[in-house]
């Protein structure tokens, strides 16, 4: 799967995939300011992408945000699920990614030892 032609074939195949029609709106937002990047945000973000690929999870959007003023707690990751409070995890490392995916994204369980904030939106 390495060429533009492959991408065109992929698109045809995916059109029948119902999950892509307006997904459930789960968002993973990684802090990518200078502070976040210096603390390892790229590895965290890249691991999220790899883990979503590996587990074939198709209803999640990966996004980034800038510095939110809590530089010392980077890497900061927000998980936003529809109609649930926004959960903010702090000092996330690349190694934390599989358990965030497995426990929070898939099973809806908040990982208490990583949480730094909960807020209603």
């Amino acid at each position: 799967m390495k060429t533009i032609e492959d991408l065109k074939k992929l698109r045809e195949k995916l059109q029948g995939d119902t999950r892509i029609r307006k997904n459930k709106g789960i968002k993973i937002i990684v802090g990518m300011g200078t502070c976040g990047i210096a603390a390892g945000a790229r590895e965290v973000m890249s691991n999220f992408m790899d883990e979503l690929t590996k587990r074939n999870i198709g209803d999640v959007n990966v996004q980034q945000t800038g510095c939110i003023g809590m530089c010392e707690r980077e890497v900061i990751v927000d998980i936003v699920k529809n109609e649930e409070p926004r959960i903010t995890y702090g000092r996330v490392t690349a190694n934390d990614v599989p358990r965030i995916i497995e426990r929070h994204i898939l099973n809806g369980e908040i990982i208490e030892d990583l949480v730094i904030a909960k807020s209603d939106i």
Partner: protein
């Protein structure tokens, strides 16, 4: 920042904050020279602001009082016998050109440019990202507008199979130009 592709990821954020609709990342490696150009069509900066940009206490952000992106990049270029040029016009955009002498012992490695580019394409999906990388005359380019046109409105960049394709596509092409 351990490598140059982390600096790139960091500086792209400035372009996004400047409301750029198109960001071009051009990397050229030839002999002992490496040039990184980041060109955006964001809001641009005044000459006065540009002149203060290398000072860490210059920032537009409100969440903290220091801005380290440009000062850090300025430092790495100076240490590696290169330089950092900033050209900006209000209402037109900004072009940052960082040049390095790669044979210099203090020149940081380019690092994981694949991850940087993939993250740019996926997480800045509202911005058109064009990446061109040339090594000794061999060129690879990817344009997010072209990918978007193929995918249409229904399939987005965060789909697991698209994420996989992006990674494989970028890696395969980098391998080709590095050969």
């Amino acid at each position: 920042m351990r490598d140059l592709s982390l600096h790139i990821l960091d500086l792209i954020q400035n372009s996004v904050a400047a409301k750029a609709t198109t960001i071009r990342l051009i990397i050229n490696e030839q002999n002992n020279f490496l040039t990184i150009i980041i060109k955006d069509d964001g809001c641009g900066m005044t000459e006065e602001f540009c002149n203060r940009l290398r000072d860490p206490f210059t920032t537009t952000r409100t969440t903290r009082k220091v801005g380290l992106g440009i000062p850090l990049m300025d430092m790495t270029t100076a240490q590696a016998g290169g330089k950092l040029d900033i050209e900006s016009t209000v209402g037109v955009g900004t072009t940052i050109t960082a040049s390095y002498v790669t044979s210099n012992i203090d020149c940081p490695p380019l690092g994981d440019i694949e991850a940087t580019v993939r993250i740019m394409l996926v997480s800045y999906s509202d911005v058109r990202i064009i990446y061109e990388h040339t090594i000794d005359g061999k060129k690879f380019s990817i344009d997010s507008a072209e990918i978007k046109e193929i995918l249409g409105d229904e399939v987005n960049f965060s789909h697991p199979e698209i994420l996989k394709w992006l990674k494989d596509f970028i890696n395969a092409n980098l391998e080709y130009i590095r050969r």
